[in-house]
């Protein structure tokens, strides 16, 4: 098996994953999730099928291009995902869970502080920002747009 560069490998894995997903959707999900047309009507699966065929053909073309051409020189936007990416993902998910469980303010404070630190900020500024911004946004939405964000803190 030829040794592929990081970029080329990512392209091949990406194309293969999307091809497998498209086949799964087309062969398994469509029969279960697309309703039959009304009596005397056209088949409701015609249009979705046409889309999936375009999807599958374009991914095959992409895979063929990735296998045959030299894409190793192209750079990946923002670099290859690493430890920082994982930290961002964990923080964001934590923020969402807190938002769901205890509301906006308690979720936003640690999310802003941790993300600022991940972005390289140090000192007290991230803490000040984290404490000021969430209540300010909460009050702005409540007073100006009459949108009450979920919050366990009674404001």
């Amino acid at each position: 098996m030829p040794a592929y560069s990081g970029r080329k490998l990512a392209e091949i894995i990406g194309a293969c994953t999307l091809l497998a997903f498209a086949l799964f959707v087309y062969l398994y999900l469509f029969p279960n999730q697309i309703p039959k047309g009304l009596p005397g009507d056209l088949d409701s699966a015609q249009y979705p099928t046409a889309i999936m065929i375009v999807w599958i053909l374009s991914v095959i073309a992409w895979l063929a291009t990735a296998l045959s051409s030299n894409v190793s020189a192209e750079s990946i936007e923002g670099g290859t995902p690493g430890r920082k990416s994982l930290l961002i993902a964990v923080t964001v998910l934590m923020g969402f869970l807190l938002f769901h469980l205890v509301g906006f303010i308690i979720a936003a404070i640690p999310t802003i502080i941790i993300l600022s630190f991940i972005c390289g900020e140090r000192g007290v500024t991230p803490f000040i920002l984290g404490i000021i911004v969430p209540p300010a946004v909460y009050v702005f939405l409540l007073k100006v747009m009459e949108v009450r964000l979920p919050s366990v803190i009674p404001l």
């Binding site: 249009y47 992409w62 964001v92 991230p126």
Partner: protein, 503 residues
């Protein structure tokens, strides 16, 4: 005429003028900050305008769009870091002028060229959109299917570096739009028994995830402090102002850039970045001082900036005339129209003429606001270009979560935005164009409705799609455009390979 008077009365209120000025100001600041963009700005504004009327809301977004494209040049000129990709053509000459102590002059040239480009394309919009809409009123399901396919093939082929990825992204956007209720049977489709999916994936949380959150994730990964090199102060008073000689130099490139940008804006999928580079190239071809290009050319800045800003007004021509978005910003505006109960397309001229005329008047006012704000608040934007993005990105992330929530006051929508944030992040890593995906998603109802109606009319015969002369002409246009784009790509790849071999 009544509609024009109503529109004039509507727009010339303090409330509406503040929306325009606010939109332009937000756009310039966001555009000036490297890492943020006009696109993010208008996507973020949408949910916060739900409580307001359609005209001021849409004008605020248009103001942000115009301001954002100009704002990109502030960072390009002062810190050699284009705030938006459309400002990349301005970097070399703008920064070279700044290093000669002529940073303020460069900013003013950029502003004047931007406003001129904007105004020209707005005039073309006002003159042509209604004519296009008149033609579109004769379209039936076959022609609309063809129009949607043309838009998707052109956008799929032009956005991004790979034709296959562009087409895939458009198909993926159409695929995601399948989730919801089947338009004919009214039965749930690909909804997996989740009630929130019965209404389909909503555009606003998807936009926020795909355009804002994914971009923030990428930016947070690579955030670095921008150390601005100390720029020398102006030597003479002429170094800070636009002289008569400068204005003479700007004339030709501005006219060329405005025309080129307008044409680029009308064609779906091309966008302001191409407008800027073609405007710059045109300025160089017809320059009085070609030797100054790359070393601080007024003509270069004028050509690039008029070229990228002229795209913004022209983008609205297919949007208002046909209901087809030309690029991401126009796609976001479609979302804004829809959430305010308006459907862009030929019928909007009869259904909501006051909105259309209000929009036209507001666009011209936004240009005046951009000129005034840009001219008098340059020092503030200079500060914005040097803001610590490490503090700003987390704040914008929180605002984007709030934006996704406030659309329907639903935590589920925040989850949808985060999922699309992840999808957008992966798309960026694999260089899959988000524009194609988004426009595929937006055009899906138009395509599906007309595709199925055409088949119903013909009792399921696909021959109906080649039964109309106008439809056939449109199919021919689609085929020609894809072949032309493929040939262009092939020749540019050859050129790149040749250059690489020579080096």
């Amino acid at each position: 005429m009544d509609a024009v008077i109503v529109a004039l009365n509507n727009v010339f209120t303090l409330h509406h003028l503040l929306f325009i000025i606010g939109g332009v100001g937000i756009g310039v600041v966001l555009g000036a900050i490297p890492g943020l963009s006009a696109t993010m700005g208008i996507a973020l504004i949408i949910p916060f305008t739900l409580a307001f009327d359609p005209v001021p809301s849409i004008l605020m977004m248009m103001g942000a769009y115009k301001g954002g494209i100009y704002g990109g040049s502030v960072a390009a000129i002062l810190i050699k870091a284009p705030g938006t990709s459309a400002a990349a053509a301005t970097v070399t000459d703008g920064y070279a002028l700044a290093k000669q102590g002529k940073g303020l002059k460069a900013l003013k040239v950029s502003l004047l060229a931007s406003v001129a480009g904007d105004t020209f394309s707005d005039i073309i919009l006002i003159l042509t959109a209604v004519q296009l809409a008149r033609v579109a009123l004769h379209f039936g399901p076959v022609e609309y299917t063809a129009i949607a396919v043309i838009a998707l093939t052109i956008i799929g082929s032009t956005s991004g570096k790979s034709l296959a990825k562009g087409i895939f992204a458009a198909a993926a956007g159409l695929g995601v739009a399948l989730i919801g209720l089947d338009p004919t049977t009214g039965l749930p489709r690909l909804s997996f028994g989740i009630i929130e999916f019965y209404g389909g994936i909503h555009l606003i949380p998807m936009l926020i995830g795909l355009l804002i959150m994914s971009e923030l994730f990428t930016q947070m990964e690579q955030v670095k402090t921008i150390s601005a090199e100390h720029l020398p102060p102006p030597q003479t008073s002429d170094d800070s102002r636009v002289t008569r000689a400068d204005l003479k130099l700007m004339g030709r490139p501005v006219i060329g850039g405005s025309i080129i940008g307008t044409i680029i804006g009308i064609i779906p999928g091309l966008g302001p970045t191409l407008g800027a580079f073609l405007g710059y190239d045109n300025a160089w071809r017809f320059a009085r001082h070609p030797e100054k290009f790359g070393k601080g050319s007024i003509e270069g800045i004028a050509g690039a900036e008029s070229g990228n800003n002229a795209v913004s007004g022209a983008n609205l021509i297919p949007l208002l005339g046909l209901g087809i978005p030309g690029d991401v910003e126009a796609a976001i505006l479609i979302g804004a129209f829809l959430i305010h109960g308006l459907t862009p397309g030929p019928l909007i001229f009869t259904q909501a003429p006051d909105v259309v005329y209000g929009l036209y008047i507001g666009l011209v006012l936004a240009n005046i606001a951009l000129l005034a704000i840009g001219w008098f608040l340059i020092p503030a934007f200079v500060r914005a270009a040097r803001v610590r993005v490490g503090l700003l990105l987390p704040t914008v992330f929180i605002l984007s979560m709030v934006g996704a929530y406030s659309f329907q006051q639903s935590v589920f929508d925040v989850g949808v935005a985060l999922v699309f944030g992840g999808i957008g992040y992966v798309m960026a890593k694999l260089a899959i164009p988000k524009t194609s995906f988004l426009i595929g998603f937006i055009l899906a109802p138009l395509l599906e409705d007309n595709f199925r109606r055409a088949l119903q009319i013909s009792d399921g015969s696909y021959g109906v799609f080649i039964s109309s002369p106008l439809g056939n002409a449109l199919w021919g246009l689609a085929i020609v455009s894809v072949i032309w784009i493929a040939l262009q790509r092939r020749s540019s790849r050859k050129k790149t390979n040749q250059t690489a071999q020579e080096e």
